[in-house]
Subunit: 428 residues, 2 copies
C-alpha cells in the first residue's frame, strides 16, 4: 500500500520538481485539468503587459517589424517543432486547431484524389474530438467524400490495403480526449502508407505531454493546440505541421495574405509562400501569441533536465501512481479505469468511467479544491468519464495522493449525492 | 489661410476632445496610422492583466463559464453590431478578416449557384485589399468560378442586369485601403440586387471610422477588422455579419465545434448553431478578445456625445482640414490628392500620391514624430501612396496642423532625400 509519505518522497526525489515554480496556481489548489487549459506561467503577466504597454502602446505599427510580431507564428512554430519531432521551419503557430485541421485535411484530400480520384473516404475514430469530426464531415460534404467512424480496434483491418483502396486519409487524434489512450503513430502511419493512405494527426493532447516524433514516424500532417499542455492561455493559437515532402504540393484553401510569398508587395494575385508559411492566412492575435510564447518558455527550463523524455517519465510515474491509488483506495465505488495501463498506449491523463454520478463527483472534488473535469457519455457506446490530467511540469506526487484521497472521501461519504453537486450547468 | 491658432480653437470647440484621454499614446507623437493599427486604450493593460491573473490564473477552466469567455464572440459581436447598423445577435467577433471572408464568400457563392448554377463570377475592385482578392481567388479556383477585377468606375456597367447574368457576388471593401475612397453601399447593393447579385462587404476601414448601416442598406454579408479603428490591439479578432435572411441557409465550411448547436454535447455529427453563432469555428484567443473589448469600450464614451454621427462629423472636419492645409502649404511638391473631396465618397483617411519618394517622405515624417504609412504602387495603374489615418477618437485638429507642417518642411527642405530615409525596409 502506498502512503502519503511515499508520495512526498517521490516529490523530493523528482528532478523536475523545481519546474512547478514557473507557474502561478491558486494556493492549495490541485489542478488536474491542464489537459483542458494549461496553468498560468509566472512570466506571462509581465510579458503580456510588455506587449500591450511597450510594443503596442509605444511602438505602435513599428512593432510589426521591430518587435518581431510578424514572424511570431514562425518563431513559436520552431519551438513547438522541437516538442513534436519536427524540424525548424516546418511548423507555424496560428489560428485554431479546427481551422488548421481544415487546411491540412483539404491538402490531404486534394493530394490523395489528384493521384487516385476514387480515394474519397476519410477514416477516423468514433470518439475522436468532435470538432475534428465536424471539420472532416464538412470537407467530405464539399468534396463528395465520406467520413467513416471506427472503433480503435477496427483500424488495423480498415487499413488493410485491399480494404483501404478507396481511403484517402486516416485522421486521428494521437491521444484520445475521453480515454487518454494513445495511438501508435509509427505503426498506424506505416499501415496507412502501405495502403496508400495519408495520415493527419491531431496532437492536441500530445504536444508537451508525451514525446512525439512526427518526422521519424513519417506522419504526413499534424495540428495541435496551444492552450492545453503548452500553457499558452485560454484559446491560445494552435499549430500546424506538414511533412516537407507535401508542404508545397498544395495551396491550402485559406489563402490569406500572411501565407503569401510577398505579403507586403500587395500584389493582386496570390502566390503561396515557400514551405509552412503558406499555411498562414490572416493577421494573428499578437497578445495571445505572446502568451503562448511564455507557455513554451516553461519547456525551456525542462530542456536541461532531460526535456520531453524526462517529462514523459514523470508523467507516467504520476499516472501509474494515480491508477494504483484509485485501485487501492477507491475500489467498490463503481469506477472503471478506461485509460490503458500499458505505458506505450497511455497519454498524460487518467480517465475513469462510472455509470452515473460522474458530473456530481467532479463537482464535489472541485468544491474540495481538486480540479478535474467531466465528459458526458452518449448513453450508448460512450460512458460518462471523469478526467484527471497530469501535467508533469506542475503536478506533483503528493498532489496525486490528495486528489485520490479526496475522491475516496467524496465516494465513501456519499457527499457527491448532495443536491448542489447535481445541478447540471454548462460544462466547459 | 488656416493657421495654428485656428486649429487650436477647433480643438477647444471639439465636443469629442475628451475622448482622446481614453488612449495611451507616446507623448508628442502624432499618430495618423490608426487605420492600420489603432492606438492603445488606457484601460486595456489593466483588463488584460485581470484576464491573465484572475480569470486564467485563479479561475482556470471555470472561467469559460464564470468569466463569460465562451460567450465573448457574441457579446463583443453585439457591440460591433451597434457600430455597423446590425442587430443584436447578428455579429460575432472571431478569427481573422481573411478567414471570415472565406466563410461568407463560401456562403454567398453556394447560395448564388444553388439557385442559378451559371452564376460563377465574383466581381471585385482591382485595388481591393489583396487578402480579400487572395481568398476570393482561392474560392473561385475551388468552385470553378472566376474572379474579375474592375476599376471603381466600371462597377455600375458590370452590374447592369444583362451584363451580370453570370455574376454571383459583388465583393468590395467599403473604404479603399489605398485611397480612402468610400463606396455607396446602399446604391451598389441595390444595383447588385437588381441584377440578382449578392454583396459581400469588407468593413475593415469602416467599422468605427464611418457610419455603416449594413441592414438598412440591405447588404448580404459583411466582415471587418478589430485592430484598426476598433482599437482592439495587434491582430485582434475580426468580425462577421450575415443578413438574418441568409444566415441559416448555409453551413459555412469551417464547421468547428464553437459553431455547433450544442458544443458541449460532444456529439459526433455537426449540427450548426442557430443564427450567426454558426459562423464560429474553433476556440478563440481570449486574451486578445478581451483587449478588443477595451477597444470597443472607447466607443461607449462616444455614445453620449453623439456616437458614430458625431465621430463622422469630426472625422470629415479633420480630413477637410488636412486636405486644405496640404493644398495651401504643400503645393508644388508633386503631391496629388487621391482621396475623394466629396464627403459621401470619403472614409477616415487622407491619401496622397507622389511619383517617387513616398517611402522616404514617410520615413522622414516618422523621424519627426508624425506616423503615417506608405503603400507602394505597382509601377503601372497603382501609384505610390502616402496614407494618413484620422481616427476621430484620438486625433485632434492641432495634430493635423503639425503633421502637415512637418510634411511641408520635409518636402521644402529636401530632408526626405537623405540616405537614411531611403533604405527600404520591410514595410508593415
Amino acid at each position: 500500500m502506498i502512503n502519503l509519505e511515499d508520495c512526498r518522497q517521490l516529490d523530493q526525489q523528482d528532478p523536475l520538481r523545481p519546474l512547478r515554480e514557473q507557474f502561478s496556481l491558486p494556493p492549495g489548489l490541485i489542478y488536474l485539468d491542464g489537459n483542458s487549459l494549461g496553468a498560468l506561467p509566472q512570466r506571462t503577466a509581465a510579458r503580456v503587459a510588455q506587449v500591450v504597454n511597450e510594443e503596442w502602446g509605444q511602438g505602435l505599427i513599428a512593432s510589426w517589424n521591430r518587435a518581431g510580431w510578424f514572424e511570431l507564428p514562425q518563431r513559436l512554430g520552431d519551438r513547438i517543432a522541437a516538442l513534436i519531432g519536427a524540424g525548424p521551419g516546418e511548423v507555424v503557430a496560428t489560428d485554431s486547431t479546427s481551422i488548421n485541421l481544415y487546411k491540412v485535411l483539404s491538402a490531404a484530400l486534394r493530394i490523395a484524389t489528384s493521384q487516385q480520384p476514387e480515394r474519397l473516404r476519410v477514416l477516423s475514430e468514433r470518439s475522436n474530438f468532435p470538432t475534428d469530426l465536424y471539420i472532416a464531415e464538412g470537407l467530405c460534404r464539399e468534396h463528395g467524400g465520406t467520413l467513416e467512424l471506427l472503433e480503435p480496434e477496427q483500424l488495423a483491418a480498415a487499413l488493410e490495403p485491399r480494404a483501404a483502396q478507396d481511403v484517402a486519409v486516416l485522421m486521428l487524434t494521437h491521444v484520445n480526449y475521453r480515454t487518454g489512450a494513445m495511438h501508435d503513430m509509427a505503426a498506424l502511419t506505416a499501415a496507412a502508407h502501405r495502403a496508400g493512405v495519408l495520415t493527419v494527426w491531431d496532437l492536441a493532447h500530445s504536444a508537451g505531454a508525451v514525446p512525439v516524433s512526427v518526422k521519424a514516424d513519417q506522419a504526413d500532417f499534424a495540428v495541435g493546440c496551444g492552450y492545453k499542455y503548452l500553457n499558452g492561455g485560454p484559446g491560445a493559437p494552435a499549430f500546424v505541421w506538414v511533412h516537407p515532402k507535401h508542404v508545397e504540393r498544395f495551396r491550402q484553401p485559406l489563402s490569406g495574405w500572411w501565407g503569401h510569398a510577398a505579403p507586403f508587395a500587395f500584389t493582386p494575385d496570390y502566390q503561396p509562400a515557400a514551405a509552412i508559411a503558406r499555411y498562414l492566412c490572416g493577421t494573428q492575435p499578437i497578445i495571445s501569441l505572446a502568451a503562448l510564447g511564455c507557455g513554451l518558455d516553461t519547456f525551456s527550463a525542462a530542456e536541461a533536465l532531460g526535456g520531453m523524455t524526462a517529462l514523459r517519465r514523470k508523467s507516467l510515474a504520476l499516472s501509474d501512481l494515480f491508477i494504483s491509488l484509485v485501485h487501492e483506495r477507491c475500489a467498490g465505488h463503481g469506477l472503471t479505469l478506461v485509460t490503458p495501463r500499458e505505458h506505450l498506449r497511455r497519454g498524460s491523463q487518467v480517465c475513469l468511467a462510472r455509470d452515473q454520478g460522474g458530473y456530481a463527483i467532479i463537482q464535489a472534488l472541485i468544491a474540495r479544491g481538486v480540479v478535474g473535469d467531466f465528459r458526458a457519455g452518449d448513453g450508448a457506446q460512450l460512458a460518462d468519464i471523469l478526467r484527471f490530467g497530469l501535467a508533469p511540469l506542475y503536478v506533483g506526487f503528493e498532489d496525486v495522493w490528495h486528489a485520490v484521497e479526496h475522491l475516496r472521501q467524496v465516494l465513501a461519504s456519499g457527499e457527491w449525492q448532495r443536491p448542489e453537486f447535481n445541478q447540471m450547468k454548462a460544462v466547459s
